[in-house]
């Protein structure tokens, strides 16, 4: 909620880091240790650094809203109601007999050490069973990295051209 209200973007980014860390703790409580570590390092770490870097290059203060945002508010509430209706029909929490726990996961858990030799099932699935997925993921990061480089290189070249223009 405070994220929606805060207008100082620096405080907002700090709050975002805290939020990410809380989320990592919640994931830890849900047995997702690998995801928790990733969230703590990527969400609370890298994202915060990226946001701070952007703040350094732009403004720290948000302009006050010029008009009342009624339509987005209504839209968000409608979405929330629809989501509540949707989650009401999800299976109960922590129950091992729900369909998602009986289909693919037991096979991974039973055979993972024999087939891959890696005791961490998450790592084994990520790197071994679904290595192509991870390759695609790496491609996404690579593409994003190229995009950032292209965008920021043009930015750096532009002032230099201006300087040459004024000098001559």
């Amino acid at each position: 909620m405070a994220i929606a209200r805060l207008r100082n973007l620096f405080a907002l980014v700090a709050l975002g880091g805290i939020y990410s860390f809380m989320m990592a703790l919640a994931l830890l409580a849900l047995d997702a240790v690998d995801v928790s570590m990733t969230e703590a390092s990527v969400g609370a770490g890298i994202s915060t650094v990226l946001l701070l870097g952007t703040l350094y290059l732009t403004h720290i203060h948000e302009a006050p809203p010029t008009r009342l945002a009624l339509f987005p508010l209504a839209m968000s509430i409608v979405t929330g109601v629809a989501l509540l209706y949707g989650v009401a029909h999800l299976p109960p929490f922590g129950d091992p007999s729900t369909p998602m726990h009986r289909h693919v996961a037991p096979r991974y858990l039973n055979d993972v050490v024999r087939e891959t030799g890696v005791p961490n099932a998450v790592t084994a699935v990520l790197a071994s069973y679904r290595g192509f997925d991870t390759l695609g993921e790496a491609t996404v990061i690579f593409t994003a990295g190229i995009g950032v480089m292209v965008l920021l290189r043009r930015r750096r070249r532009a002032p230099r051209d201006d300087k040459q223009g004024t000098g001559s």
Binding site: T54, T58, A63, L84, L90, F93, A144
Partner: protein
């Protein structure tokens, strides 16, 4: 969210929290004019989806899915794998979005949506 006995069931609490986070994220994303704030709203929305995926993977009394002697119940590893990918793709999206924000700031001198639209169409 609260059943008749007054105690909160974990499933209701988690799903309610997910919905609240999703709605807050969506509202910030759509309603706020500041581009950095929009991206943070997108991040909140994403984390709510992480929680939605991870929560059903937990088995009561289960342990993290690292195979060890003497442990028979493990939580489901598949949502963890999917969400690991989602987190990394999310940060890639964030990086690209922030790079765009920096470029927009270079070009327009502002990161407020209204002012950018005004500058594009002064009439």
């Amino acid at each position: 969210m609260i059943d008749l006995t007054g105690t909160i069931e974990p499933v209701r609490a988690i799903h309610g929290g997910v919905v609240v986070l999703m709605v807050v994220g969506l509202y910030v994303l759509v309603a706020r004019g500041n581009l950095i704030k929009k991206l943070i709203g997108l991040g909140v929305f994403q984390t709510s989806v992480y929680l939605l995926y991870i929560a059903p993977g937990k088995i009561a009394g289960g342990s993290p899915p690292i195979i060890a002697d003497g442990i028979v119940t493990y939580s489901n590893p598949l949502p963890h794998v999917l969400i690991l990918t989602a987190i990394v793709v999310g940060v890639a999206t964030l990086a690209l979005g922030l790079a765009l924000v920096v470029r927009i700031h270079e070009e327009y001198g502002t990161i407020e949506e209204d002012e950018i639209l005004d500058r594009d169409d002064p009439a």
